[in-house]
């Protein structure tokens, strides 16, 4: 299957600041791809290069098989975009903006438009200036999701939504995934990415630091283990791959590298395990660890 988005070694400078410094990103057709990174990592810059708004300073970018700068107009017929900070025309109603953007893209699915307005509980008769941040985002989301396009590029689309609306957003994306739409989802909300995304790329300071399925990423990181043991847990200290061991009477809490789990289990068993809780790293832990390690290295 071909890639909807294929970026390698992308560079973009603003004056002397390198916003993107050799970023790579592969999004397969039909997948929902999480694009993660802290503020200022280069997510929005990458998206603007993909949209042909910014010209890249180096590297290769291919979008839906074309060049995002020179073929911008043709490619834009096949995608819809929701910016992170949606600003609407103060005098246009939400309904007018949805129709306008739909027509500029080349058509709206009327049924979907009505359905999404209902699900997002959005009043389309209000003027742009009277909407809250969340409602402005809903306007852009309804316009994008009800467009007949093959690729959605969403830049932190749920930052202003309440949990109920976020759930509606997730179910709408699930439906799109089933229909085979490709989604690039830049996000901060890790639970959302964890629930929706097939694959994830993590960027930091303009570079991709991790990319793969969530399982692959988890494998590279540590699992948390909490156990109650009857014997003295001291032998665990000498094990390789064990980190952050905390012993409180007979309660042991530790993190273990993904590929050392078997050794840990065989060392734990002789200690007389009464209870054992183990959970894989959440995306949040994975994410935090990556960033904290990154900070510490510098």
């Amino acid at each position: 299957m071909s890639n909807a988005i294929s970026i390698s070694g992308l560079e973009k400078h603003f004056g002397h600041v390198a916003a993107l410094d050799g970023l790579d990103l592969e999004v397969a057709t039909g997948e929902v791809h999480g694009f993660l990174g802290p503020n200022g990592a280069g997510k929005t810059t990458t998206i603007r290069v993909l949209l042909g708004l910014l010209r890249s300073d180096g590297g290769d970018v291919s979008l839906l098989g074309g060049d995002p700068w020179s073929q911008a107009t043709e490619l834009h017929r096949r995608l819809a975009y929701v910016p992170g900070d949606v600003s609407l025309w103060p005098n246009l109603t939400g309904g007018e903006v949805i129709d306008l953007l739909g027509r500029l893209r080349g058509g709206l699915d009327e049924g979907k438009r009505a359905d999404l307005l209902e699900r997002f509980d959005l009043d389309p008769t209000k003027k742009g200036r009277t909407y809250s941040k969340g409602n402005r985002q809903k306007v852009a989301l309804v316009a994008a999701l009800s467009s007949n396009v093959e690729l959605l590029i969403l830049d932190e689309p749920t930052a202003g939504l309440d949990p109920l609306m976020e759930a509606q957003f997730r179910s709408a994306i699930e439906e799109d995934r089933e229909k085979g739409r490709t989604v690039l989802l830049a996000s901060h909300i890790l639970a959302e990415v964890e629930a929706l995304c097939d694959r994830v790329s993590i960027v930091r300071k303009g570079r991709t630091v991790e990319s793969g399925t969530l399982d692959q990423l988890r494998h590279l990181t540590r699992t948390t283990v909490i156990a109650d043991v009857t014997a003295d847990p001291a032998p665990l200290r000498s094990l390789r791959g064990v980190h952050g061991l905390k012993v409180q009477d007979h309660r042991v809490e530790l993190e273990v590298d993904g590929d050392r789990m078997a050794e840990l289990m065989s060392s734990l068993a002789p200690l007389g395990v009464r209870t054992l809780v183990s959970h894989p790293p959440t995306l949040e832990e994975l994410f935090m660890r990556h960033y904290q390690d990154g900070e510490n290295r510098e």
Partner: protein, 534 residues
Amino acid sequence: MKSLSGTGALIRLFLRLDRVRLPVWALVLGIVPVGTASAFQGLYTTEASRLELAATVTSNPAFTALLGPMYDPSIGGLTAWRIGTLGSFIVALMTVLTMIRHTRDDEETGRRELMGSTVVGRQAPLAAAMTVTIATGVIIGIIITMGLVGLGLPLEGSMAFGAGFTAVTVSFAAVGAFAAQLTQAGSTARGVGVGIAGLFFVLRMAGDVAGSDGLGWLSWLSPIGWFSRLRPFAGERWWVFALWIGFSVAVTSIAVLVQSRRDVGEGALPPRPGPARAGAGLGSTTGLAWRLQRGSLIGWTAGLGVLGIIYGAAGDSIGEMLADNPQLAEIFEQMGGTQTITDTFFAAAVGIIAIVASAYSIRSVLKLKTEEDSLRSELVLATATPRSRYAWSHLVYGLAGPVVILGVAGALAGATYGAIVGDVAGETPRVLAAAMSQLPAVWVLTGATMALYGAFPRLASLSWGVLAFCLILGQLGQILQFPQWSLNLSPFTHTPMIPAEDFVAMPFAILLALAAGLVAAGMAGFRARDTPYS
């Protein structure tokens, strides 16, 4: 007072935000009167030469319409006449725009909410904005007073002149505060504030032209008209300040009252719901641009249409005035008859309309920048809209809008004058042609704005500086005898003074080519650069 807490911090914030803008305003508005007085001193050294200038000026109602009455042919009196009324109007505009920028704009964008969550009282932003604006007015007043005294002009008149500008600032700070209360949109507030300033200018224009008889009292209804009634350098009437103070206190009180009764972010006038679906017209960038531009196109056309009618009506007063004064009429007839005088007047009038039409043109091209700064352009450019089509959708207003505005204003001026002298069919096309002959110069400014926006978007606001430069050259260049090469820098110098002069094709062609080149450069720049620009 709790409602004022945080005012000091906001004042510091506003000063920081306006650290370039307000000093430039204050310097320009302070120095232009002083520079003008100094130039008058150099040019009109003898009493006789000043009397001669005064005689020419007071005999022409067009000057009175634009600049107000002249009371005294001294250097100070000439300066107060030349700068006072028009300067008051510009001071009023600056003040209203500054006030709204720091009040309603902050509310509309939500910056006010951010401030409101800190220790900032309900009335604090308004109080801070007024303090900063009025302080600018005080500085302008001090610069003028000290400058004029420094030139050796009488202390009393210099103080009246400077304090008069300060009083105008105070009055229009109140007008701005009031306009900011009405609706949620900063753009509407700006429209209301600028409209009020324009109304006061037109009121005094009508009153000044009428003079002592009939409608002369209209000038007394206008805080801009009060400046000439203050009579700096011509027997100052200090009690006029009481009018300004009363006006400012009353209008500010209304603004404060409205503000204390409404919610932050809301206007006194409630917003109405709109259509849930877009009409057939709103399906393209062209339709979107029409929605965003139509209000201002209609407003500017209507405003300049009214100005055209006023000019048309004033054109005939020249003939009447000559009928009353046989000796003067004889002189004019030797110069080529009354037709020439009226023609010169209309050529000057369409020149002023053209400057205002240029302001409209710059504003409508800079709408592209507003859209880009607010990131709304991104929504459109991420759809199947080529950049060039998007840019043209707004640029077309910068080019075709002045055609509409100059066409309507010129036709109305000609028709009004024609109706009075009984030759509508003859006068309408003559004045209309005069107005249209200004288009190439207007388009050079349109092109310059597009070129700046396309290639150097950060500097796009400089196009206002270009307009101010042309305005100063056009308005003061002749009377202050600037060297010809400097006058030549303004495109308006090169348009023929139709109907007073004949049409000449060459400068037309050159201006058109220049405008086209600038537009093309701007377009090429916009298509090649990053957006949003960094």
